[in-house]
Symmetry: C2
Subunit: 411 residues, 2 copies
C-alpha cells in the first residue's frame, strides 16, 4: 500500500498494521533455485516458480519412509492451498503396505474383475479407456486424518486429505459387463503393493458412483497415487480407494482384510465400521504456526467436505464455539469434494479461538471433539491413536494469542 | 483381454480386433527415466510417472523461442487430455511480447489500480490475498487458436486453449475499493513483460466476473502463465487475460494498444472487435496423427466450451456433417470452462469424417468453416493467417482412411 490513498474501505479496520502485514508462515522462506532450464525444457513442461516452495512432509508419528519401511504417509500442505483442487504433486499419500511404489508399465497393466459374475474379465489399460469415461472432483481422506495435541500446523492436523478431478470408467459399467450374479453383496478390491492392500465395499456403493480411474487433474494418475489405475469410492475412507488396482472380486459377504486393522477393536462400541466420512471442515488460514502481525482485517478461509454429499453450509466461530456465523462459499460446490469457504474477520488483538463447522446436504453437522469422544466411549480429550479405531471429523480449534501467534487449540 | 471371456457386451462390435487395439498415437513412446529421486524428494513433491511423457510443443509457424525472440507460443497436448482440468505444467502459453518470462518476486510485486477513480491504490500480493477470494474453473484460449491445413495433430490445430481452476480477488471488489468515477467506460490492463502487453475491456465486464488471480489449480500461478498475478476475463480472448499484471487504468473510452494487432484491418468487415469467444469444440480422440487399429468400438471424445456461458449440447457427426447425434456430457459443466463430451462409436472400417458441434446456453451454435469464412468475407477455404484477423471457432473435421489413419480434414 503506498501513499496514493488516504482512505480504504475494505481494509479500513487495520490499514496501518496491514501495510506490512501478511500472515506470517512457519513454513520457511523461498530459496531461489540456481539451476537454469533450457528453453526446450521450458517449452515442454512449465515448472512452478522458484519463489514457491510449498512441499509435503512426512507424518511425524510414523517411521520416516525408507527403503525398508512399510509405511509412506505424507501430508499435503493445506496452509498453502487455494481453491479446491490439490496439485497432483502435493496430493497426500497414505499406505501401510509397502514404502516402495509399484512400478507398473501401462502396457503390462491388467485389471481382473471376477468372483460371483457370469463372465470374469481381465482388462488392459487401453481396454478400460475404450469404455465411456466420467470425470468428477472428489476428495480422498485417510482414516487416520486426525488432529493430535502435539501437532503444530494444519498440515499435521489435517493434511491427509486432498481433492482431484478423477477420470475413469464407472465401476457400474464394468460390473454390468461381467454380469453380477444373484446373491452377491460385496466387492473386494486389491492393489499391487508389497502387502496387497485390500478392502470391501458394499455392492450398492460399487454400482452407484465408484470410478475405476486412470486420470487425475487432466493427466495420468501419479505413481504415488496409484498409477496407472486406482479405485475411487467417493466419500468413503481413503483406504477403500485402492491404489495400483489389480483386481476386484464380487462376493456374497464382507471380507475381512488386512485393511481392517483400523476398524477392529475389542470394544464393540469402537468396532463399528466407518465406511463413509461425516461432515468435516478445517480452517487453513489463520492456522497453527502462522502469526497475525497485528490487529486488523483478515480472511478466515478453509476447506469443508463430507462423505454424505455436497456441503450445504459452513459456520465459523471466533469465540471458541459459543456463537457461530455463516461463512461464504467461495468455490464451486461438488458432491464429496473439498469446498472452499471464507469470511472477513476483524481481529481486535485479544486472545480468541477460531473454529469451523460443516453441515452437509443430509443435514449432518460436524461434531465437537467432546461429541466424537462420546460416540467412541472415550474421555473428552480423546484423540485417535494406534489401537483406537474410528475416523474423526471433529472440529479442530485454533487459538490466537495476544501476540498474534496461532496454535493448536487441543494442545 | 484374456481367454476368460467368450462374450462381451459393450465391446462386442470388435472384440477380436480390440484385443491388440488401443488407438495408436503419433506422439512418441515412453522413455524410462534413469535418474532416481531421493526419498526426501519423493516425500516433498510427487512427480509424474516415468511412463508418461506428454509434453507441449512450440507453434510451428512462429520462430522457435530463443533468448532473442519476441514470441513464445506453446501448444497444450490435447490428444493426451482427460477430464476438463489442464495440468498447470501443460497449460498453453502465448505471448508476442517477450520470450523471457518476467522474474517477479512476490515480495516486490505491486498492482496499481488508477485512472478515473476516487482513490488510486497500489496493492502488494499479501494485500490482494486479504480480500475475499473466489475460485472458478475457466478456459483461456489464444485468439490465434485456429486450424490450418498444414497442421497434423489436435495439439497443432487447437492446442492454444486450456482450462484451470483460477483463484483470486473479484476485480469488482477492487474497483469498488478505489471508487469508479462517472464517465468511466473501459479498463486498460498492462503486464510486466518486455513490450508491455496491454488490453482494453468494457467496464461492465470488469464489474461482472473478472478475477485478479494469484492461484491456479490449487497453487500459485506458474511463471509462464503470469506469476504472481494475472487477470482472468472469463470467455474473452486470451489476450485480454493479462499476465504478470502490473496495473489497470479506468478510462472513458477504448484504448488502442499493441495487443490490437490482431483486430485491425483495412477491411471493415474484418476489423470488427471479437472480444468474446463463440461456442467451440474439438474431438481430441480420434484425432490427427492417431491410427485406429481396425474396425470396432471406439470412444469419440473431446472438449467443448464457449465464451457465452455454459455448454448446453454437443453433437457429433461421423459422416462429414450430414447427420448429427447428441454426445454425452462426461464431466462437470461450468460456465466459460472446458466441458468433456463423448460418444460410443462403432467404426465399420470405411472412410469417414468426424466432426463435433457445440451449442451454448445462449443458443449459439458452432459454425462450419464455410460459415466462418462468409462472416469474414473470405473464400470458403479461409483460414487464419497473419494479417487476417478474427478469432475462429469453426468446426475442425478429422478424416479417417480405410487403414485407420486419422488426418486433418481441411488439409
Amino acid at each position: 500500500m503506498n501513499g496514493k490513498s488516504s482512505r480504504r474501505k475494505f481494509l479500513k479496520g487495520g490499514a496501518a498494521a496491514a501495510a506490512a502485514s501478511a500472515i506470517q508462515s512457519a513454513n520457511g522462506t523461498a530459496a531461489a533455485q540456481t539451476e537454469k532450464r533450457s528453453l526446450k525444457d521450458e517449452v515442454a513442461y512449465g515448472e512452478r516458480s522458484k519463489y514457491v516452495n510449498s512441499v509435503r512432509v512426512a507424518v511425524n508419528e510414523r517411521p520416516a519412509p525408507d527403503e525398508f519401511g512399510l509405511t509412506f504417509h505424507v501430508l499435503s500442505p493445506l496452509q498453502d492451498s487455494v481453491g479446491i483442487v490439490t496439485p497432483s504433486a502435493l496430493h497426500f499419500v497414505g499406505t501401510h503396505r509397502g514404502a516402495i511404489v509399484p512400478d507398473i508399465s501401462p502396457k503390462d497393466y491388467r485389471f481382473l474383475l471376477h468372483g460371483m459374475v457370469d463372465r470374469p474379465l481381465e482388462f488392459t489399460l487401453d481396454e478400460l479407456k475404450r469404455f465411456p469415461s466420467v470425470s468428477r472432483l472428489h476428495f480422498i481422506e485417510c482414516l487416520g486424518n486426525k488432529a493430535r495435541p502435539d501437532h503444530k500446523t494444519v498440515q499435521q492436523t489435517t493434511g491427509l486429505t486432498s481433492c482431484s478431478e478423477w477420470t475413469g470408467v464407472p465401476l457400474s459399467l464394468l460390473l454390468k459387463e461381467v454380469g453380477v450374479q444373484k446373491g452377491a453383496n460385496w466387492v473386494v478390491s486389491e492393489g499391487s503393493e508389497e502387502v496387497k492392500g485390500a478392502g470391501s465395499i458394499p455392492l450398492g456403493k460399487a454400482m452407484d458412483d465408484c470410478i475405476v480411474a486412470y486420470g487425475q487433474n487432466g493427466e495420468a494418475i501419479r505413481p504415488q497415487n496409484g498409477f496407472p489405475v486406482r479405485l475411487i469410492v467417493p466419500g468413503f475412507e481413503g483406504i477403500y480407494n485402492t491404489k495400483w488396482l489389480r483386481r476386484m472380486k464380487v462376493v456374497d459377504q464382507y471380507y475381512m482384510t488386512y485393511n481392517d486393522y483400523g476398524h477392529i477393536s475389542a470394544d464393540p462400541k469402537v468396532a463399528a465400521f466407518n465406511l463413509q466420512w461425516g461432515p468435516k471442515s478445517i480452517i487453513t488460514s489463520p492456522s497453527g504456526g502462522q502469526k497475525l502481525p497485528g490487529p486488523g482485517v483478515y480472511q478466515i478461509t478453509g476447506l469443508a467436505w463430507s462423505g454424505g454429499g455436497a456441503v450445504k453450509k459452513v459456520e465459523i466461530s471466533t469465540d471458541g464455539g459459543r456463537t457461530w456465523k455463516e461463512a461464504e462459499i467461495r468455490s464451486e460446490v461438488h458432491r464429496m469434494a473439498h469446498t472452499r469457504f471464507g469470511m472477513n474477520w476483524k481481529w481486535d488483538g485479544k486472545e480468541c479461538e477460531l473454529q469451523s463447522r460443516c453441515t452437509d446436504e443430509l443435514g449432518q453437522i460436524q461434531p465437537s471433539r467432546e461429541q466424537v469422544a462420546k460416540v467412541f466411549n472415550q474421555p473428552p480429550d480423546y484423540y485417535h491413536n494406534h489401537g483406537i479405531p474410528g475416523t474423526d471429523n471433529a472440529i479442530v480449534p485454533w487459538k490466537i494469542a495476544t501476540d498474534g501467534s496461532v496454535r493448536n487449540g487441543i494442545a
